[in-house]
Symmetry: C2
Amino acid sequence: MESLIATEALGALAQITRLEVFRLLVRHEPNGLAAGEIARQLDVPANTMSTHLATLSRAGLLTSERHSRSIVYHANVATLRELMLFLARDCCGGNEELCAPLVAQLSC
Amino acid sequence: MESLIATEALGALAQITRLEVFRLLVRHEPNGLAAGEIARQLDVPANTMSTHLATLSRAGLLTSERHSRSIVYHANVATLRELMLFLARDCCGGNEELCAPLVAQLSC
DNA sequence: TCCATGATTCGACTACTATCGAACTATTGG
DNA sequence: CCAATAGTTCGATAGTAGTCGAATCATGGA
C-alpha cells in the first residue's frame, strides 16, 4: 500500500458513523449485512448511509453483492490488514524494537 | 482507545502532508526535527505546516519541546500503537484467526 | 403489468478543512 | 534595547464533506 491509497482508507475510517459501520460489519462476518439493516442498526437515514457505504467501498474497505432486493455488504479485512502493515512499516522503519510491544499485544 | 479518539487520530493521518510529516518524524527518532526543518523538507510554507503540526499534536501523534529558538517535534509512536491495537481489535473481534497473517507479517 | 420494497442518486444547504499572505509572539546574539 | 530568526495566530478564500428530503432505479411478487 502506498501513501495516497492509505490516506483514502484512513479518511474513510476517520468518521464516526463509517468507523462504526466497519466495526459492525467485521462482527457480522462472514454473513455480511444488508444496507438497510446497517442503517437501521446505527439509526442513520438510508440515503445518508448509502453515501457512507460508497465511501468505504471506494477505499476498498467494503465489498458488496446484490442478494435479491437487498445489497449485502462485507468488511474487507484484507484492506484493513494492508493499512495496518503500512502504518507498522512507519513505526518499525525508524526503530525496529518499537514494534515488539505491538506484536506482543496483537496476539489478541 | 475509544472510537471518538480513534477517529481524531485517523483524521489527523488522513491527509497526505500530515501522513508524510508523521513518517518523516518516525524516521528521525529519537532526535526529532524542528518545525522549520520539517516544512523545508516537505516543501510546505511554515504557517501551513504549523497548522498541520497542531492537528497532529491535538490527536496525540506528536510531542514537542522548545529548544532555544526552535521547536522540536517528535513522533509519538505510542499513540500509533494504540490506534493499531484499536483497529486490530476490530479485525480480531469477529474472526480471531483473521489476525494471524497480520501478526506474522508484523515481525518486520 | 402494477405495486411494494430496498437501495442509490440528485440537489440544496451547512459546516468544516486546507491554504497562504500578513501580522504577531518568543528567543537570542550583538 | 534592537535586529534577526523561528514559529504561531489571524483572516480571508476556495474547496470539500456530511446531511437529508425528494426523486429515481432495480427487483420480485400478485
